[in-house]
Symmetry: C2
Subunit: 220 residues, 2 copies
DNA sequence: GCAAAAGTGTTAACTATACACCCATGG
DNA sequence: CCATGGGTGTATAGTTAACACTTTTGC
């Protein structure tokens, strides 16, 4: 039997907070089709490679990111999609990753990786706008019933930072008092003795996450 | 460039209620590996075929089921898995489907399709037990925030039947009065003038679903 | 008349929401 | 002293959960 499988690719939506805004990692395509257009980091899955291995390789090659620095990686959905080259139809396994300390060196690769706010996306290649929209929805759901947001915040953070992250992802304002009451009742975070001083106002208490692995925690 | 993709397969978890129990469709494998063992219906995805097209073909060939008779089909997850033949690693795109009127003809194909209660699964091939467990969990979640259960019930049904379906999927008993109060407040189902008579007891009112497409409806 | 499943309300506990002022700091 | 963001409590409405008896039918 001569079995020929469809082209199989992986595409990843890497989220990170930048200035209290939810941002997604985009690269610039160096090859046709969509050469010069921005896109999600992605590429072929080779024979013998798992989807996760391909993801690691692609993020490392195209954005200089090591997967081990991303505290949360989760598969999203598998799209039947247009191929990257004219051979026709392809299948793309998509992943979502959350980061907090990712520093990009836009000159280290020709792909110019950068974080772009999800509420101000440029015109991106393939069906990647759809994938980003799906990832945003998944993330919104995920932070509502797990502690997934830990993966987007630094080890020590203020309640205002935490609230801003929730607000950016949910795309709606939250009441400060109700938010604090709720979050403290969940045993998801713990007070630390440290304070954060920043500008002409009262210093803020710093908190940390009790668990830095994914845990069920009904927030909303 | 000579690009060789991993082997790509599709596997489907088809659910149906049988005697108030949640059942899953299994076939018997006619080829190695796991020849003679039961398994989810599945097979190769060919070049040029979408995952959904492959799913249709596989269900038709191996179980005699036309996809158009399944009111709800949803992609589950894509597993890196063992290959069906010794060439090594494969990628399996899995789907969940819900049915209500599926009648199987176990003699029409050599695959002996049959519905088996999920709480009494035999030893099944590959990583299919894991896939069924994942599908059950997804279904449990899905019926909690959508009307997905419509796809498992006949057009006309009693409140007891509906409650039994929820109980079978959630694997816990529900309070009859609270259940009825809740379901009636959701505008998910509507009374019909018909009654269902069955045995030596009071006849039951028949209801129908207001929507027979997937709709958001917070049930639990 | 009896066995079997259908049908029906109330109360208490909990959860979610709305809302406004004082505090600590730097300049 | 003033501008800035940090921090705090209460009252109401809505939701969930617990619980037992009467009705209608076939035999």
């Amino acid at each position: 039997m001569t079995y020929t499988a469809p082209i199989l690719t992986v595409d990843t939506v890497v989220f990170q907070m930048v200035d209290a805004r939810l941002c997604v990692l985009l690269i610039t395509r160096t090859n046709p089709p969509f050469q010069g257009r921005r896109a999600l980091p992605g590429g072929y899955i080779s024979l013998g490679e798992t989807t996760h291995e391909a993801l690691q390789r692609v993020l490392s090659d195209k954005a200089g990111i090591e997967c081990t620095t991303l505290p949360l990686i989760e598969q999203l959905y598998t799209f039947d999609t247009v191929a990257r080259d004219p051979r026709g139809h392809a299948v793309s396994v998509t992943y979502m990753a959350l980061g907090r300390d990712v520093v990009l060196d836009a000159r280290a690769t020709p792909h110019q990786p950068q974080f772009v706010p999800v509420d101000a996306l440029p015109d991106i290649a393939f069906d990647h706008a759809q994938i980003v929209a799906y990832a945003c929805e998944r993330l919104r759901n995920k932070i509502s019933y797990t502690n997934a947001i830990f993966a987007l915040l630094p080890d020590y953070f203020t309640l205002s930072q935490l609230q801003q992250a929730y607000e950016a992802i949910l795309a709606r304002p939250l009441d400060k008092r109700n938010f604090r009451k709720k979050i403290m009742s969940l045993a998801m975070i713990a007070e630390t003795p440290q304070m954060y001083r920043d500008g002409a106002h009262r210093p803020a208490r710093l908190y940390r996450f009790v668990h830095t692995t994914l845990t069920d925690t009904a927030m909303f």
